[in-house]
């Protein structure tokens, strides 16, 4: 209960009860200090420990389905990202993120600005794949820890934050995220992100992210990260008129050509 734990008396009683029960002891100390919780949030934000510029290759598809969409993502910090669609029929199409703006780039068309909630083919939102920028866009409404799992109740602080509330669960000891619940303003869980493995745990680059849509139901969406490498990226890649730079991107060996 985020609201209950924000009440000091209630929080004290809760803590006393947990202490008497002889359950978790040490992690509570972290919760006691807001700065410790903040530090934990910063340390567990996806891609937080990754290099500034990197290239990812991934497949997105419904859980249990053979059909996947192949994507390549060029990422420069939290502000710039270029999603390159690798499927044959989507050749030449990109989604470009520049700060708060998201653009769709296709051959034969001018750049089209997309709504921030735009989902890629397959239904994944960009922020679900590229990190939620939790430490930047949200503030901690409550934090508690049980059995080594720290749970943050986060509220959107920045107007660009795509979700009003997020519940963020982390493995406190390993400092790795476990799952995120994307919630509506009234606290209803809409989507659940499950972090199933790590391509590079030290860099917080996920190996597999499963997204469950609690509103529409249906199978979970699974994004499998196949490759990650750090590489310097040309600025033109992230410009709207950088078509030439994007066209010059090398073919991806091993990418499906369905």
């Amino acid at each position: 209960m985020p609201s209950a734990t924000s009440d000091p008396d209630r929080r004290r009683r809760l803590r006393t009860a947990i202490a008497i029960a002889g359950l978790a002891t040490a992690p509570l100390a972290a919760a006691d200090s807001p700065s410790a919780a903040e530090a934990l949030l910063v340390a567990t934000d996806l891609f937080a420990r990754a290099p500034q510029e990197l290239r990812l290759r991934l497949e997105v598809g419904a859980e249990g389905s053979e059909r996947t969409t192949a994507l390549e993502i060029y990422r420069r910090g939290a502000e710039r990202a270029l999603v390159r669609m690798l499927d044959a029929r989507d050749r030449g199409k990109f989604v470009l993120r520049r700060g708060d703006e998201t653009w769709f780039l296709a051959p034969g068309a001018r750049p089209v600005r997309l709504a921030p909630s735009y989902r890629l083919h397959g239904g994944a939102a960009l922020d679900e794949l590229l990190g939620l920028s939790l430490a930047r866009d949200y503030r901690i409404a409550a934090y508690e820890e049980t059995s080594g799992v720290g749970t943050f109740d986060l509220e959107a602080a920045a107007s660009v934050a795509p979700h009003p509330r997020v519940r963020w669960a982390v493995d406190v000891a390993r400092r790795l995220p476990l799952r995120a619940e994307l919630r509506s303003r009234d606290g209803r869980a809409l989507r659940v992100l499950e972090l199933r493995g790590w391509l590079d745990p030290r860099a917080l680059v996920p190996g597999e992210v499963a997204v469950a849509d609690l509103v529409r139901r249906g199978p979970k969406l699974v994004a499998r990260f196949l490759e990650v490498d750090a590489a310097p990226l040309p600025d033109a890649l992230f410009e709207l008129d950088g078509g030439a730079a994007r066209a010059a991107l090398p073919d991806v060996p091993g990418a499906p050509v369905n």
Partner: protein, 415 residues
């Protein structure tokens, strides 16, 4: 009728009164004939406007798509779109009464103008050459129509409805970028040049509508696909006949196809039709009652005034039935002559009104003013005539009863 001529003679007794009664009957007939003419013209006009505004006479669509949204829905989901329909089209175009069969591909998505304004749109990819052969009318307000040949890649063009063009801030010659999800679920975008601005005639639709060449729509959402085939006929009256022929022609197609006549798709048309029908019957009832009231009084007076004569006729051997027949015949003559006069006036009035070219303000939701025109409806003329005969027969009931019951001796002494 032995008494018909006598009854007709009797009408000449009080010429002014007879003329007044005839005028009442004629006016009632005129009201009915003109109303029917207006209603019929409105029906026909509405039907033709809908058919040639893009509905076509028949729609051939995947049965699953029709089932998903209902026959009346204008949009057919992309997931059910037809592929490889060209052979079917060829067969359908060979059927009698079929003027042309045009493939349509419906698209919906976001449109973005040159200044970045983005508005959701619904659009259709059509075949301008087939549309022309089906007699579809485009209400072009600026620029020009789409060329009939398929555009080359990079030269796609669109007709944009006025409201949508306003929201996007575009004029003919400007580029609009269309964003839509294709049949495979992928996002796609296409730049189109605004060839012309059109109106659909419906304000609501004008804020969202645009039209492309079929080939352009296919480039946006899926090569070779069509949402439906629209069948245009050489005459609307042949709809029933053609419906059966087309149904027979598409039977056994896989996936199964449904054939929907325009009347089922134009839900709005049926509503208007029912409304007009209601109005017509309401008016008919009022006319009926008014004419009954006006003429029954007159007929009662003619009987009252002739009591002595009627008594004499009874005295010299006229039977009660004969007397009743005579009075009824007088009433029917009034109905017949009055309604014939009304019909003649109706013909003249319709011709006059149609020649005058009166404009009426656009109906709610429509864009253009409409011409006040009336149709000649033979059934209405015949119906009004029969109705007036019935009216006069009803009006004659009381006077006939009175005449039949009269005491001869009293009547002879009546002054």
């Amino acid at each position: 009728m032995r008494f018909a001529w006598l009854a007709l003679r009797n009408l000449a007794r009080n010429r002014r009164r007879t003329a007044t009664t005839l005028a009442v009957v004629a006016a009632g007939t005129l009201a009915l004939v003109l109303t029917a003419g207006f209603v019929a013209y409105s029906f026909d006009g509405l039907a033709e406007a809908m058919i040639h505004g893009g509905l076509g006479h028949l729609e051939v669509a995947p049965a699953a798509a029709v089932e998903a949204r209902g026959a009346a829905a204008l949009d057919r989901p992309l997931e059910h779109a037809l592929a490889g329909w060209e052979g079917l089209r060829e067969r359908l175009e060979a059927l009698p009464h079929v003027a042309a069969v045009g493939a349509n591909l419906q698209v919906m998505g976001m449109a973005q103008g040159p200044q970045g304004a983005s508005v959701s749109f619904v659009g259709v990819g059509a075949e301008p050459d087939r549309a022309r052969r089906m007699g579809f009318e485009k209400k072009l307000r600026a620029g020009e129509l789409l060329p009939e040949t398929a555009p080359r890649e990079g030269e796609e063009a669109a007709l944009v409805a006025l409201g949508l063009a306003g929201a996007l801030g575009v004029a003919p010659g400007d580029i609009v970028t269309l964003l839509a999800t294709d049949a495979g679920g992928s996002l796609n975008a296409l730049d189109v040049r605004v060839a012309g601005l059109v109106t659909t005639g419906v304000q609501e639709l004008d804020s969202r509508y645009l039209e492309l060449h079929l080939a352009a729509a296919q480039r946006l959402v899926g090569a070779g696909l069509a949402s439906n085939l629209l069948v245009g006929l050489d005459e609307t009256e042949a709809t029933g006949e053609a419906l059966a022929a087309v149904r027979a022609a598409v039977a056994g197609e896989q996936p199964p196809l449904a054939v929907v006549p325009w009347t089922e798709r134009a839900l709005f048309y049926e509503q208007v039709r029912n409304l007009y029908r209601g109005i017509f019957w309401f008016l008919g009832t009022i006319v009926f009652l008014l004419v009954v009231l006006a003429t029954s009084n007159t007929l009662a007076m003619t009987v009252m005034e002739r009591m002595r004569e009627l008594g004499t006729l009874r005295a010299i051997g006229t039977g009660r039935g004969q007397l009743a027949a005579m009075i009824l015949a007088e009433a029917l003559w009034l109905g017949l002559l009055g309604s014939l006069a009304g019909c003649l006036l109706g013909v003249a009035a319709i011709a006059g009104i149609n020649r005058a070219g009166v404009k009426m303000p656009p109906p709610p939701g429509a864009v253009d003013p409409i011409d006040l025109r009336l149709a000649y409806v033979p059934e209405a003329f015949a119906g009004a005539l029969l109705l007036m005969l019935a009216v006069l027969a009803v009006a004659a009931l009381a006077p006939v009863a009175r005449a039949v019951r009269l005491s001869i001796v009293d009547a002879l002494g009546h002054v």
